[in-house]
Amino acid sequence: MSLTGRFVPASRRAGRPGPLSWRSPRAYRLMTLVPRTEWAYRPRIAATAFVIVTQVFLYVLLWRALYGESGETVAGLGMSQAITYSVLATLMGTGRVIMEGASQETAQSKIRDGSVVFWFVRPLSARRYCAWRGLGESLYATAWLLAGLAVGVACGLVALPPSLAAVAVTVPAYGLGQLVFYQIGLLVDLTSFWTITSFGVNRLAAFAQLLLSGGLIPLWFFPEGLRAVAVHLPFAATINVPVSLYTGRIPAGECWPYVAEQALWCVVLALLSRVMWQRAARRLLVLGG
């Protein structure tokens, strides 16, 4: 297998074979790929739980200590809101970073060992294959989030949303955020078709994701100039928007510009990834033909 600029027949292009339905056993198997991989390496689950719990604990102590020294509200966030933001952002951000690539079903690893060719000869397009696998990964991450949320609320670390309206807008915002998450990860992964190895790109994207999404520090605490830019980047759509809606930092009545921006990023990134899939498939050449 090699990656070249040669033309490849339509039968090997991404997106040609038909879709799968929700009820298809194949779709189900693809969706459970990541959870099953995690289950196969159970120490991984224990390590993920350890990392998330200690990170949450550390951030809670940090914010409590910092708020203890200053006033009630900083950058529009009270202590309870900041802690809730931090806990949810850690659950959403750290968890995803850890499990990213857990299944090793990434273009990067497949290109390295040459098995990427199987993505393009299956009766399911590579694009849909990755989409179903990504959906499973997202649902698995959501299970971690919900478990952490339940424990956080029970322990008094996470405050409940200020209103039912906040819940109502947080749920679709979270869904859109997960879509943007998937698309960003996919675009980064697809760069392997051009760079062959994409460790550098992956790490860079992971740090950008963690920092600019609000996964490390609430974006509201950023210096004004940086925040003005960061809130309009796709990374902010993944964590900052849903968590800010949950905590009430963005009132439910004012959510529409933020949700609309999330939706816009979904469309833009989906179009971009579609184009990249097509071009990536054209770069694939197997045994010279």
């Binding site: 120490p43 390590a47 990392v51 200590a65 550098g200 790490r203």
Partner: protein
Amino acid sequence: MTTTDGTAAPARRVGRLRLAAVIVRAGLRSQLANRADFAMAVANGVTYQITVLLFATVIFSRFSSLGGWGLGEILLISSIRMLGHGLYMLFFGNLGLIPHLLREGRFEAFRTRPAPVLLQVFTYEAPINALGDLVVAGASLTVCLSLVDVTWSPAALCFLAVAVAAATVIELGLNLHIAGLVLRFRGSESLFFWLDNTAGNFGNYPLSVFPAVLQGAFTFGIPIAFAGYYPAAWLTGHAGTVPVSPVLVYLSPLVALLALLSGLAVWRRCLAWYSRNG
């Protein structure tokens, strides 16, 4: 190393260094083959350190009083830690690639070759992103030196150099523990991320801002406070305010040695277990 004629030991050491240099050169050439990824790797080091600095800046700008430490003094803590991290990445950063080496089966090859496994791990790939780490750490130290009111006597400069070396060794020791665990418990590689994240985000502040439980954890559990805070406390005249005892400000080299010995012991034990069961 004991030898029969008394001359073979130095020759062997030189041989290993030469071997390491040859492998690193080959790795560098291999990485230069993918120019875009090479550039990204350098940028990655810069981004990581900027992330750490930004975190510290945001915290400082929003919460101005951090245990009585000024911005320059806090920057000194993070500069020592970041320089230590940069040097760790330069010489030993490939430890974090062990999960990848295990998955691809390359680690098995390391065990069959007539060279130490750790040496082969350290030289597996040219540590490109360490360049970015060191550039930002150096820039941070330069800014910090212009902000802090410290008389840089030869003793202070030596203390700073020892502190940076200790920070490097502490990070190596802690990562050796995790590398051993990764050999013993497949799938536990997220602990590398955890250590990096914890040291990067919580190792840059005066311990006095944290509650007692974290002060104890960062001093006696995962001693990241010795990789920045304690030496910086001596350099900036805050030795009297450190938790537990002012003596701790001098103990970074000793803690580094203990962390390294403990890490090597865990690594050897887990490698032996892996050789039997891996």
